[in-house]
């Protein structure tokens, strides 16, 4: 169904209410998502992006009925990932010669995925395409936000920035705009998206935001490729991104542990009690890693000033869940955060030292050499855990 977003600009995307996982199973999408595609209907008719491949057939059929495939003059592909380009192979069977405007890197990503040699028109930052009626599209390359091929397109006069993944959220909604949805849902999903997908590229993002500001384009609407369109004060999400890109943290300490027979869990709870004794204000959150959603945990790490990681020792090492989680922390390149490790052990007890080394390599500043407790914590060990917590709160 084609829906007007402004003047002659229409949303022609797909709401995916059922999506529960994204990027394979890496990213949980508890609230579904949308794949936003747009039609600009001026003298020239332009399609901006498509939808994920499972919805290709209904997308193309719908586009044909509502817009007419043969009337599309240009296609803009802002990013080659399959959730946005997935309907291209089917679409291009119907209109094979239609020019596709994209970055040089998108030619590589599209060829690499679909093995087709379509009519690619490579554009760079500042290039313009006239759509008639005095309107133009201006392209802005956004390399590594979040693929090498990423770019945005800006529509003059209507002052809409088609930002693709930037400023997006995995939020299925029948409403199109940011002011129409629950604001808690919206910002929870926006920050989760940033933490899990864009955080590694924060240094580039800061520069890109400055570059876009220097272009002095009046931006009245930011039309993303996932979730709602920002029409009510679109600057608010740009300002949020500027904060999030700047080593973001809140007054929060997050304890994340895995446990076998609950000894390490017992320590986790005592550490939390120690933190609270020393600091009445700090937000404390405690999660059992194996029972938790890792993408949600990453959002909590993103908000934290300190993370405290716990695992017992098994086979001279930590539980594999923790090793995987620390690898995730490393990939996401957190900066300016502190960490400490703890755990129970029976006889060898290597996990705490190993966790400490790994999380330091992942870019965290280590608070102490960590807390180890042999067998199940007795009263003395519990007191040590409380003291460890106090030390973390005041470090």
């Amino acid at each position: 169904m084609k829906r007007r977003i402004k003047n002659n600009v229409y949303w022609v995307g797909k709401v995916d209410w059922e999506l529960q996982h994204f990027h394979g199973f890496e990213y949980s999408t508890h609230k579904g998502s949308t794949y936003n595609a747009y039609i600009i209907d001026e003298e020239k008719k332009v399609l901006i992006d498509t939808v994920w491949s499972p919805f290709a057939e209904e997308f193309v059929e719908n586009l044909d009925q509502e817009v007419g495939l043969s009337s599309i003059d240009y296609i803009v592909i802002n990013h080659g990932e399959v959730d946005h380009s997935g309907a291209l192979p089917l679409l291009m069977k119907h209109i094979p010669d239609t020019p596709i405007y994209c970055s040089a890197n998108a030619v590589k990503s599209l060829r690499g995925q679909y093995h087709q040699d379509w009519n690619f028109q490579v554009v760079k930052t500042g290039d313009r395409v006239s759509l008639g009626n005095g309107k133009e599209l201006i392209f802005v390359e956004m390399p590594m936000l979040h693929w090498p091929d990423s770019m945005a397109a800006y529509l003059t006069q209507d002052n809409i920035l088609f930002s693709n993944d930037a400023f997006g959220q995995h939020l299925a909604t029948d409403h199109l705009f940011n002011d129409q949805v629950d604001q808690c849902d919206l910002f929870n999903e926006a920050i989760k998206y940033y933490a899990n997908i864009l955080n590694p590229f924060s240094p580039m993002l800061k520069k890109k935001l400055e570059e876009i500001a220097a272009l002095n384009l009046p931006i009245e609407m930011i039309a993303t490729s996932h979730g709602v369109i920002w029409r009510d004060n679109p600057r608010q999400i740009v300002e949020k991104y500027a904060q999030w890109a700047d080593n973001y943290q809140e007054n929060q300490i997050t304890i994340i542990y895995d446990t076998m027979w609950n000894g390490t869990k017992q320590l986790a709870e005592k550490i939390a009690a120690g933190i609270r004794e020393a600091d009445q204000e700090v937000v404390i959150k405690v999660y059992h890693l194996a029972k938790s959603d890792e993408a949600d945990l990453i959002t909590e790490v993103f908000k934290s000033k300190t993370v405290v990681l716990g695992s017992p020792t098994i086979y001279n090492s930590m539980l594999h869940s923790m090793a995987g989680f620390i690898q995730l922390l490393k990939q996401l390149r957190f900066k300016g955060k502190k960490a400490a490790a703890f755990g129970c052990y029976g006889w060898s007890g290597e996990a705490v030292k190993q966790m400490t080394e790994l999380v330091e390599k992942a870019g965290f500043t280590i608070i102490s050499e960590g807390l180890r407790s042999q067998w199940n914590p007795d009263e003395g060990a519990e007191q040590a855990a409380v003291g460890f917590g106090k030390n973390i709160a005041t470090s």
Binding site: A104, N105, P143, M144, P148, P200, P203, M204
Partner: protein
Amino acid sequence: MDKYECTACGYIYDPELGDPDNGVEPGTSFADLPDDWLCPLCGVGKEDFELVEE
């Protein structure tokens, strides 16, 4: 001095600019970049860079 392009993401290393965000002074040739220097855009190593023919 020669420029080098990252074959993964297209970043151009320009010796005149260096990479000050990552401690590389302007005027540092590509050959003089430390072996563990990474593309500041996409994170691949020096071996994934190619000479830019001008």
